[in-house]
Symmetry: C2
Subunit: 368 residues, 2 copies
């Protein structure tokens, strides 16, 4: 499907008003498009940098329709939007990425079935539909090695390490049963990895794809702390990883920025690429692209959604992105004094709650 490019002055609707929506709105404004934000929280950070604001709940059909009618194209900032909301929007505007992309990535079981269908490399897993499935799934995956490290991940509404639990040994099963209750989940084998990384790919409506250099990602307690480019990935692993992301994007008929989180799995003294999860949106591990590339992920996402020519994803600098969580953001002054080649982004959030993403900084270094 090729789409008519939006003219400058057209309106791009963004569902979600957090920092990703905010940075997308700013990218839209840079290229002369008007941003319209739909978000339930009146204090959404994206409202104050956008031309139009729609403050309503995700199940407010009339508000969704008004928002969609006003927008010449609509995108979204996160994958936990009710699919029914997107169904209303796509009746009245052009939606990208499409609803299928969101549905696949908002449910870990759906996602895994989709990736299996493409025969793409993931960690060994078993589906768990309620607590009574748990023990047999555990037996199947541990295969006689009860100490095997497993992760039980709720099928839906997990992010930043939320909605998952570590299982190491039969002794953890009782707690896991209680934690899971009747919900659906994925039981997954822990991967022995050298490091984590992500592929950020942007695909336009004609199927053209560009890739940013993959960053190495450092998580702490499930939350991304740092992304560093370049990552120490051998060329062949990098190629495989990009192909993997490309296959996912093509299979979904994807338009916009797609992030694929991966493990650099240790294999016979070398490394291999294993998918962790996919995110149908701009991604925290790509924030450095706004500072270190000609055209960053936010602008390229908007360009794709608007049917515009994509910009170069080439990197002019090495970069290290560090998230500022909770009260860490209060140290902004020292952070800027410490390194003048530091680009700071703060999200305009009021309450520095524990672990809340308040901003990030990017240190730029000459390209190696």
């Amino acid at each position: 499907m090729t789409i008519e490019p939006l003219p400058p002055g057209a309106t791009v609707g963004i569902v979600g008003g957090g920092q990703l929506g905010r940075m997308m709105a700013q990218a839209a404004a840079k290229i002369g498009l008007k941003a319209s934000i739909f978000a339930p929280d009146a204090e959404s950070p994206a409202f104050e940098v956008s031309a139009f604001q729609h403050c309503a709940a995700y199940d407010d059909g009339a508000a969704l329709e008004r928002f969609a009618r006003e927008a010449d194209a609509v995108t979204y900032e996160f994958e936990n939007i009710p699919s029914a909301a997107l169904a209303i929007i796509e009746q009245h505007s052009r939606l990208a990425p499409n609803r299928r992309a969101m549905e696949v990535s908002q449910d870990r079981i759906e996602e895994r079935r989709f990736l299996d269908g493409l025969e793409l490399p993931c960690a060994p897993y078993a589906e768990v539909h309620g607590k009574d499935d748990l023990e047999s799934a555990w037996r199947a995956l541990t295969a006689g090695n009860p100490d095997t490290l497993l992760f039980l991940k709720r099928a839906r509404y997990g992010y930043d390490g939320k909605g998952q639990m570590r299982i190491k040994g039969a002794g953890d099963l009782a707690a896991a049963r209680g934690w899971l209750g009747g919900g659906d989940a994925l039981l997954e084998k822990g991967i022995e990895f050298a490091f984590e990384f992500s592929i950020l790919c942007v695909r336009d409506d004609r199927g053209k794809m560009l890739f940013y250099d993959p960053p190495r990602n450092i998580h702490d307690d499930g939350i991304l702390r740092e992304s560093i480019v370049p990552a120490p990935l051998p060329d062949d692993v990098m190629r495989t990883a990009k192909n993997t992301a490309g296959e996912i994007a093509s299979a979904l008929g994807y338009v916009g920025v797609l992030a694929v989180e991966m493990f650099a799995e240790k294999r016979n003294g070398g490394l291999g690429a294993v998918i962790n999860e996919i995110a149908p949106r701009v991604h925290n591990s790509g924030h450095w692209t706004a500072d270190a590339c000609t055209v960053g992920q936010f602008e390229n996402h908007i360009r794709a959604v608007a049917g515009w020519p994509l910009g170069s994803t080439e990197r002019h600098s090495d970069a290290r992105m560090v998230n500022l969580l909770g009260e860490e953001a209060h140290g902004w002054q020292t952070l800027l004094e410490d390194n003048p080649s530091r680009s700071l982004t703060l999200y305009g959030k009021k309450d520095a709650m524990n672990g809340r993403k308040m901003g990030h900084y990017v240190d730029l270094m000459p390209k190696t």
Copy 2:
């Protein structure tokens, strides 16, 4: 004077709602500050990217006071604001750059007297107070060479080549008398220059100064068309030019980005730096800094105004900035297709009137 840094979430007021105000507002939002725009035109491009909007005339004292009281610091986007408006603002908020900087640069005669006081190099000139001064000023400057190229520049409200007239020979004097009427003007000797360039300097409240690499500027009919870095300036001329800008900024007790437009004058087979004019604000010839430097002019201006640590003005790429005037902006699609390493900025203006600045693009190239 050192100032208390504004905390994230504070409000920066910006007088003027054009593209410079718009890009300053976006830079403020990037670092977590709220932008508040004061502008008389309801369709001001800066309104749609800012948290607060004040649409009122520059002589509406009550509106100016409301705006100033709401803002924790105030800056401005252009030098043709009535000084009386700034006088009201500075009673209720912190103003930077200060009123003196604006007064000096909004009147060419004031500006020249100020620069003379600092013994800084300008073109030879004479003050003209009404048409009856014209002939004696012309005689003094031509000094027996009636073909000497001169420029008659109205003292106030000139920009983009407006408000000036070329005089070459006694035959132009009658027309010049009619054009000038009773106004004040500067009669200035044309400089024989190799090219034009500008110095962009940012100064914080403690007197710390940083300089961007000076771009070579190409004008057409008085309007800036291109700015290219690096400029072919010998090291000693560059040093002198930076010192000149630094002296101006220090003498004014300046806080923020200051632009000094200069001629690379041809001198005995070499080059010298001569001041053309100063602009107490972010400047069109510095737009490339947002794409080619760690911290661009808009963010550094806001950082200075907010009392924040300045960011590095270092350049990671070579760059060529091209203004899009009037209908040239309609070619955005081809412009983006022609070069993926092109960063496009459109200002969100509705009417592509002839010669109106609608946007610009920056081509990035590896640093030489």
